[in-house]
């Protein structure tokens, strides 16, 4: 599970809560609840597209939609701090890292025929099982808990911080140690690879810089000369003055 989501679990128990018995009907949706449901549907749809699309970079961008939708859900539940951390860490750092990795290795425009895995059914089983386990645990833990949406923000930074560092400081520190271990491990692994590589071929590391052009894209480019020719023709006939060069030179640069 992700750190931000874990933090979300931890703080959820600190919300000022009431029991379900009295004031809340089971099926009397308010505006916020309807919005929550709709955003949830969008998030779910984006997540499904993320794992089913054949276009690698599109998958990463749909992941942005899914993670952003999750942030909006946090906001609707008044957990403002968690929502912004979600955007900062996942959209701002994790997705950028994924995109960086894709561009560095292979990011063809269009479909990747080899983006399919033979393990898809096993993966689906594991995903459904873990989702079921999580839903069951969360539903069981917070069955009678309600968040008062009209009262003072229950997930504000002050409330989150207080509950995190008073009630849940031990798990928090344990997580820190875990992350530190992962960090050290990553450094050790990368240094080992570097040392081994330096032993066998001194300049092998520089090859990676030339790799961004993937074979499949080169193939596509050579396959479609007719499309390229058509575009350049229509571009030339429509506007003789639109050289890509001059928009740069007499602009601000």
């Amino acid at each position: 599970m992700t750190p931000a989501a874990t933090v979300g679990h931890l703080t959820a128990s600190a919300y000022p809560t009431t029991t379900a018995a009295g004031s809340h009907g089971f099926l009397s949706p308010t505006g916020v609840e309807i919005a929550f449901l709709l955003v949830g549907l969008v998030t779910f749809g984006a997540a499904v597209i993320t794992v089913t699309t054949r276009q690698l970079v599109h998958a990463a961008l749909w992941l942005v939609v899914a993670l952003g939708g999750l942030a909006v859900e946090y906001l609707l539940l008044t957990a403002e701090f968690i929502a912004w951390v979600q955007v900062l860490i996942y959209v701002g750092a994790v997705v950028v890292l994924i995109l960086f990795g894709l561009m560095l290795t292979r990011a063809p425009i269009g479909r990747s025929p080899d983006a399919d895995s033979g393990n898809r059914w096993a993966a689906l089983t594991v995903a459904v099982a873990s989702a079921a386990a999580l839903v069951w645990v969360v539903v069981d833990a917070f069955r009678t808990t309600w968040i008062d949406l009209d009262g003072p923000a229950a997930g504000s930074t002050a409330v989150t911080g207080a509950s995190l560092f008073q009630n849940w400081v031990l798990p928090f520190e344990a997580l820190s140690v875990l992350l530190l271990a992962a960090l050290v491990g990553a450094i050790v692994l990368s240094r080992k690879v570097k040392a081994a590589r330096a032993g066998e071929a001194p300049r092998a590391g520089t090859r990676a810089a030339g790799a961004p052009e993937s074979p499949s894209r080169a193939a596509r480019t050579s396959e479609s000369p007719s499309r390229a020719a058509r575009t350049s023709e229509s571009g030339a006939s429509r506007s003789a003055s639109s050289h890509p060069g001059d928009s740069r030179t007499d602009g601000a640069r």
């Binding site: 403002e80 750092a93 425009i109 639109s242 740069r248």
Partner: protein, 322 residues
């Protein structure tokens, strides 16, 4: 005042600021660069000092054909400029210009996190542009953008955290309320690190490796023409406005001034931000571009340790004065 009217008015003001301030910074850059480098530049449009040149540039951009390369990923290519520009509009909403809750678009409880998170999203626009253009130079530009963001997001966040520790709150309004003049020397290292890292995140010279027009032909924006290219330029200048505003609010005391702070707080904010914007332009004229490895080295071996030292200093002083 009526609630809906109040909200509409605030949004309108922020929107007008968003539309005009980047242009003002752009025009200032033209003129300041011309004076510093002893070159004339366009001086005739509109009469005095060629003030209408900016308008002419805008008209020119609007007239140009909007070209999408044949092999490009069409939808992402067209969406990228909006993704690059809109986050800055959202950030402007949360930047307070004066004392009280009347002088900020929207009070955000976790303001520091909000502005840094949303600013990071803007970089996705450059990444999308770099990838979807089907151009090797653009892809290189996108790669460099991503590497740069990963390197410079950390020092920015750490120094912002230092200010939040000093103020005991992560709300931008709250930070300004808690500000004292001696924070300036106390947080000066953090201020410099934040400003430099922000410049790098905006890909401004001397940190403009991702666009580097003389080696990778404007990187991610190589294939863009007309209005979409203008939107990327506008995003850069909106980024300058946002960065200067944030540095002012976090480190320079925002609406606090040595005298006459009553009613004139917004003047102080604008003045400080304007001086910072001038420094941004000045740096562009003064320094040559860093190499890619120098860029990474500067962040990981200098800025990150400095910001960690600043956090340690903030913590020590905070404990001592309590």
């Amino acid at each position: 005042m009526n609630d809906a009217l109040d909200v509409t008015l605030r949004l309108l003001v922020v929107f007008v600021v968003f539309l005009t301030f980047p242009l003002i910074v752009g025009q200032t850059e033209h003129k300041v660069m011309a004076h510093m480098q002893g070159r004339l530049g366009p001086m005739y449009a509109g009469g005095f000092h060629g003030w209408a040149q900016l308008v002419a540039d805008g008209v020119k951009f609007a007239q140009k054909e909007d070209v999408v390369p044949a092999d490009a990923d069409r939808r992402i290519f067209q969406l990228a400029p909006a993704v690059a520009l809109l986050p800055y509009l959202l950030v402007l909403l949360a930047v307070p210009v004066g004392p009280g809750e009347g002088a900020v678009g929207q009070v955000v409880d976790a303001g520091v996190f909000f502005v840094l998170a949303v600013m990071g999203v803007g970089v996705l626009g450059s990444l999308m542009a770099g990838w979807s253009s089907a151009n090797k130079f653009s892809l290189l530009g996108g790669l460099r953008t991503a590497a740069q963001l990963l390197a410079y997001e950390l020092p920015m966040l750490l120094t912002a955290a230092s200010v939040a520790m000093a103020a005991g709150t992560v709300s931008l309004v709250g930070i300004l309320d808690a500000f004292e003049w001696w924070w300036l020397p106390w947080q000066i290292v953090g201020a410099v690190v934040f400003f430099v890292a922000g410049l790098a995140e905006l890909q401004r010279p001397p940190f403009d490796m991702p666009v580097a027009d003389s080696e990778i032909i404007f990187g991610a924006y190589t294939e863009y023409t007309g209005l979409r290219f203008a939107l990327f330029l506008l995003a850069e200048y909106a980024g300058i406005v946002v960065l200067c505003g944030l540095t002012t609010v976090l480190f320079l005391g925002g609406w606090h001034g040595p005298w006459g702070a009553d009613g004139l707080g917004w003047v102080w904010t604008l003045l400080k931000a304007a001086v910072l914007a001038f420094v941004v332009i000045w740096l562009r004229v003064t320094y040559p571009r860093l190499r890619e490895d120098q860029l990474q080295k500067l962040s990981w071996t200098l800025l990150v340790p400095l910001s960690l030292a600043q956090i340690a200093l903030t913590g020590i002083v905070k404990v001592v004065i309590q």
